[in-house]
Point group: D2
């Protein structure tokens, strides 16, 4: 079927490619004309602006917006809303804050437009592996666009089927899911990312511990290890309980350089981590691990916190303690 | 080659079966004569006591002890040490505390005995999938027993090779690794379990959040979800960043019953979780996530903590606050 | 000077009493006529409704709203804004969310009205001890109402002066502070409460540990204690580093009943704890302790979390583990 | 009465001074002869070595060891045990690990010696304020030395009595307590320090948040604060819920320099913090806050953790993310 795609960065362009490979027709637009021209060379129809893109699509239209930042997504969807017709569907495939989806969905519904929020996981590997799609919005709009989602999703692949699933929704096994009303897609994606933070931090602490336990001095006498963390990460890939894609990636990075010397350790966080904690606050869910994982990233980007200076000042105050030098 | 196995619970018996399938000869013993008799029926040589087991093995012997509790392992290894000869190798494949290994290794070395500590992951699925083996002890003893480890390990299987591993230790890719001197095997296994705790808790919090976000009341107005956590767990199995064996298991449990009503939520912890935190203390490693994951288990086994009563008492003291009823 | 007070619960009524004792004139109103009548008997002027209260105050008026919930505060301030005149000052002394203050301050400023947000600490003891006041809003409005704040604040009292304060703001030493523009008062109060949560949890965990270390079984052999937590809390009140009002309150509660058997341990949280975490997210501040303190309260109000069931289900999945019974 | 004091650092010397002021007789020794000579000038009897010290005391002797490190304390007590007579009492007033006390107490008891472990809080202010004493050991030895403890403790002072204490142990109100058998004193002191860590971290995070909320850019639009943290700390000293000695010390440090520019923020931790977490592990006590407070200190002493590099490497692996620069 036909899809408009706005935003032709790595994610947007690869989604278009995966769709075209399966025979879907894509009308594409990006502020930068280059990626559109490149995709035109691969079979896409390049549009010169939003109005042009809308005019090149047949009603009922489906237009997927895949832009990095919240503000430009908002502006683009607003402009699109003035160009399309009742019955058309706008899709945000970026990493929006789900409460913005809820608001936006209402605004668009008031104009007779459908809105789908699609949480998209898969990163740089999505073109080949397919994208895990978590979709929110009216069931009717989801149903109409299902061929698109089915194409983008990884499919069953070689993954062993889960037991006890007789009679359950077969779409989940293909890698796409209608999660509920508008906002549900990005909410599920947000929780996914929250879990991802927690898992990453679990591995990070474990490997940190193995390294620190390999120190040559300053440890209790039982220590005397010199762990090869690259080999440890590799051996865990087979038969252990922690096998996972994140472990695969870690093993790859450690195989290339077990000191990870190309990295400083300043770790970014994106909105999803913070929104997950906010949802934990909203719902009174104790989320120790997801939150700690986020806080370690905050801390990683600072030389020192004022908190630490306060601690040193207090220690000087009650005990006359002087700060140690770093080892 | 030949191996003695002491302790024929699920783990010990399945290790024997996997070895025999590959042509190794196993002499087996358990205090309970039944599992030994059963294994004898499958080709093992059953021994009537430890001395009998030792006498049925040719020097240099290798005897694997696979017992659940620390005390009985200790006692068994002590008794064995009096029966075997210099040059023999004793193996503890259970979940021992690595500092006990270090002490024990020294005691046995003083008698001319080898000692290997083997962290064994794979649980109930090991017979088929193979066991991930993390091994500590003298390189010489490891080398001699490598055929055993190679048989027990999962092997390369269908798992995609890790990039950048040219020239690295090929054993890790088979699923077994000599991690270092005595204690190193159980140390690596301990950290593995610590990571496992953290990953489990990350998933647990995420699914808890999805459930709590599906509440019918008491939430901010944007909420209005009714997530099917079984489907969410399934869709994440394809193409998402959190794909992992633990997710597979969660998907299976939720497919069987998305309310998990067979479970109360009293969660055990074993020694490894606590020892991991102890190692974090020894090595001054901030291990927020691994520790929080452990503490949530402590908390899960109590109706209330005294800590919570203290909080309520303070609140009554400064604000006259009365405790709420549970929802 | 003259002040209108709306909301005559414990806090509002005691503020009025403390003001009248110092010679200020108070016009008071509450939906329930009883507390107004009681205060009239102590010298206050009771108003029959908001309009009546406004009419009984001379311009420029100052009206303090001291209501428990956010919604009714919002409605009352809206109604008042329609009754008062440019140059008048409205005060919210409750526990509002500081972002609501910022919005509200702008709305009122557009009508020529002043708005002060006053974080008020002191609880049930404020009438005698005085209230610690953290004030946000225009400096001009703060200045005009300073006599009110000075009266309500505890004053220097017998508290030892802080060194190095020569030339610093003398108001802080009296117990009231103009913290900045609208929102600053409730922001500082919010952080105060966040710290309060953390301190409370620190004590709670410590006393919990002393109790658990007094268990008669299940502990390592070195344990053999039977701590009297009431005496421990008392001895710490003298010369220790943890001396604090919260310790005083704990000592009092434990002296009355060292088992705290009147308490279940369901611990409420109010908005400030959650807003503190939200501010930590906004500002990328690692706030491990303040957040953990909040999460333990969330957990305290549940029999079990779904998270815990997920953990048990995973453990059954990979290890065949059966849940333990509670001790 | 008479007391021997070994170790004349700040703590030991001030304890001697406080005792002599009250008329007790002190025989003192330190490896460095200077502090002993100084104290001799103030009325103490200086000994030239341990044997000399023992010979200058009348049986039954009481000898207080106040040395910084565990090893030298151990060696000193061992040597003393060979010099004193059955019925004498050895006291460790340092910060020993309580399990060492338990072992040591048994060893000394086997020789007919008494052993008291005395947790001592008060720091640099103890000479004037007195020391909060938490004492473990045989009741009989405690009783005999009570005059010493009573002198060292702060006494009731001007502190408001705790309600509901009729019939309770009057010693706690003086600031000293017999907490139980050998080890109990240091255990209670250890928990005290654990709580101290948690309280300190609560304040540290709160002030960090106030500073970060004063940033000029990068914050949501509602922010626009410029908090004077020195004034905030001062105002909280009066009438707030967080009043405490630690707040007093913070206010003093911030009054001297609200940027705390003399401090780097490398925060030490001493044994007590780690032992508290170990006790939490032993007793299955969830101690989130006490542990987090410790971990932030571990982190403060590092430029970056390997954990953080692992996170960056994973992010590069699945999303092609590049590390941000520090702000």
């Amino acid at each position: 079927m036909q899809l408009g795609m706005i935003g032709l960065g790595r994610m947007g362009a690869n989604i278009v490619r995966r769709l075209m490979k399966a025979g879907h027709e894509c009308v594409v637009y990006d502020r930068d004309p280059k990626p559109g021209a490149a995709l035109a060379g691969e079979g896409a129809i390049a549009a010169s602006d939003l109005a042009d893109l809308v005019s090149k699509l047949k009603a009922p239209r489906a237009i997927w917006v895949m832009l990095p930042a919240g503000e430009i997504t908002e502006a683009t969807l607003k402009e699109l809303a003035g160009l399309v017709l009742p019955g058309d569907t706008l899709i945000d495939g970026g990493n929006a804050f789900w409460k913005d989806d809820v608001r936006r969905g209402k605004e668009l519904a008031a104009k007779g437009l459908h809105y789908l929020d699609v949480g998209t996981s898969g990163g740089v590997h999505g073109l080949d592996r397919g994208y895990c799609l978590m979709i929110g919005g009216a069931k009717e709009a989801f149903d109409r666009l299902e061929p698109i989602f089915k194409t983008l999703a990884p499919g069953k692949g070689g993954i062993e089927p889960t037991k006890h699933r007789d009679g359950r929704n077969p779409r989940s096994e293909e890698g796409y899911l209608h999660c509920g009303p508008v906002g549900a897609g990005h909410f599920v994606k947000m929780v996914h990312n929250g879990i991802e933070y927690g898992m990453m931090q679990a591995f990070a602490e474990g490997f940190d511990l193995l390294r620190n336990a390999s120190a040559k001095e300053g440890l209790p006498p039982e220590y005397g290890f010199d762990f090869d963390v690259a080999e440890v990460s590799e051996v865990w890939r087979r038969g252990s309980v922690v096998t996972s894609w994140l472990l695969d990636l870690t093993a790859e990075a450690l195989a290339a350089d077990e000191d990870l010397s190309a990295y400083t350790g300043n770790v970014s966080d994106s909105g999803e981590g913070r929104w997950t904690v906010e949802a934990a606050l909203d719902t009174a869910t104790p989320a120790e691990v997801l939150t700690s994982a986020l806080y370690t990233r905050f801390r990683s980007r600072k030389d020192h916190t004022f908190a630490e200076k306060i601690l040193s000042a207090m220690r000087a105050g009650f005990g006359g303690h002087v700060e140690p030098k770093k080892p």
